[in-house]
């Protein structure tokens, strides 16, 4: 298992600003993902954070809007750029180990962003 710390836990942001969310894991993990959960919706994968290289984005998500860093095996950041009210969501960091056939994906506690 893993302990995943996300911060901030919540924030209220002004339109047009950017916010960076941090995800720290207490052990080295192979895979790190960022999900978004809009109000009343399920989880949608934004991107896979790749160590030392550009993240792999899912359809509908672009690097300019959601730049991601992953400098090492235990840490990643997601930035929500030029925010609008539509970006109000919970953003979740999740981790897994490649080749781990137990199937469990561990989630951080999430960061709830409200954009005014």
């Amino acid at each position: 298992s893993a302990v995943i710390s996300q911060k901030p836990s919540r924030d209220i942001c002004q339109r047009g600003t950017s916010l960076t969310i941090q995800c720290q894991v207490d052990s080295q993990v192979t895979m790190m993902f960022w999900y978004r959960q809009q109000p009343g919706q399920s989880l949608t994968l934004i991107a896979t954070a790749n160590q030392g290289s550009e993240a792999t984005y899912e359809s509908g998500f672009v690097i300019d809007k959601f730049p991601i860093s992953r400098p090492n095996l235990t840490f990643s950041t997601l930035t929500v750029s030029n925010m609008s009210p539509e970006d109000s969501s919970i953003y979740l960091c999740s981790v897994a180990w490649a080749g781990d056939y137990t199937g469990e994906l561990f989630f951080g506690e999430g960061s709830r962003l409200t954009v005014l």
């Binding site: 895979m31 993902f33 919706q41 399920s42 989880l43 979740l92 199937g103 469990e104 994906l105 989630f107």
Partner: protein, 111 residues
């Protein structure tokens, strides 16, 4: 594109009732199906299913997978107010470890 559909969208029951939550899926190169419970922000893992017909059980919760008909059910017996949550179904294909989530079923258990 992988797809997961859950039903019902929401459900209100009374303590002691039994509920069945449904999850149907379409996925290329299916690897596993997972159930999560989400009470506040972080989903917590319940079950992973890979083989048809084998029931996974944990206390009052149980789940089974039908790979021929492409669906899974999650049963909760003798429900309690603490079971109130969103229940998420997700599938994983052989391409990687990322999950495709369904829309979730919001369960409310009334005293």
């Amino acid at each position: 594109e992988d797809k997961v559909v859950q039903s019902p969208l929401s459900l209100v029951v009374h303590e002691g009732d039994t509920v069945t939550l449904n999850c149907s899926y379409e996925v290329t190169n299916f690897r596993s199906l997972l159930w999560y419970k989400q009470e506040k922000k972080a989903p917590t893992f319940l079950f992973m299913l890979t083989s048809s017909g084998i029931e996974k059980k944990s206390g009052r919760l149980s789940s089974i997978l039908d790979k021929k008909e492409l669906f899974s059910i999650l049963n909760i017996t003798a429900t309690q107010t603490g079971d109130s949550a969103i229940y998420l179904c997700a599938v994983r294909n052989n391409a990687g470890n990322m999950l495709t989530f369904g829309g979730g079923t919001r369960l409310m258990v009334k005293p």
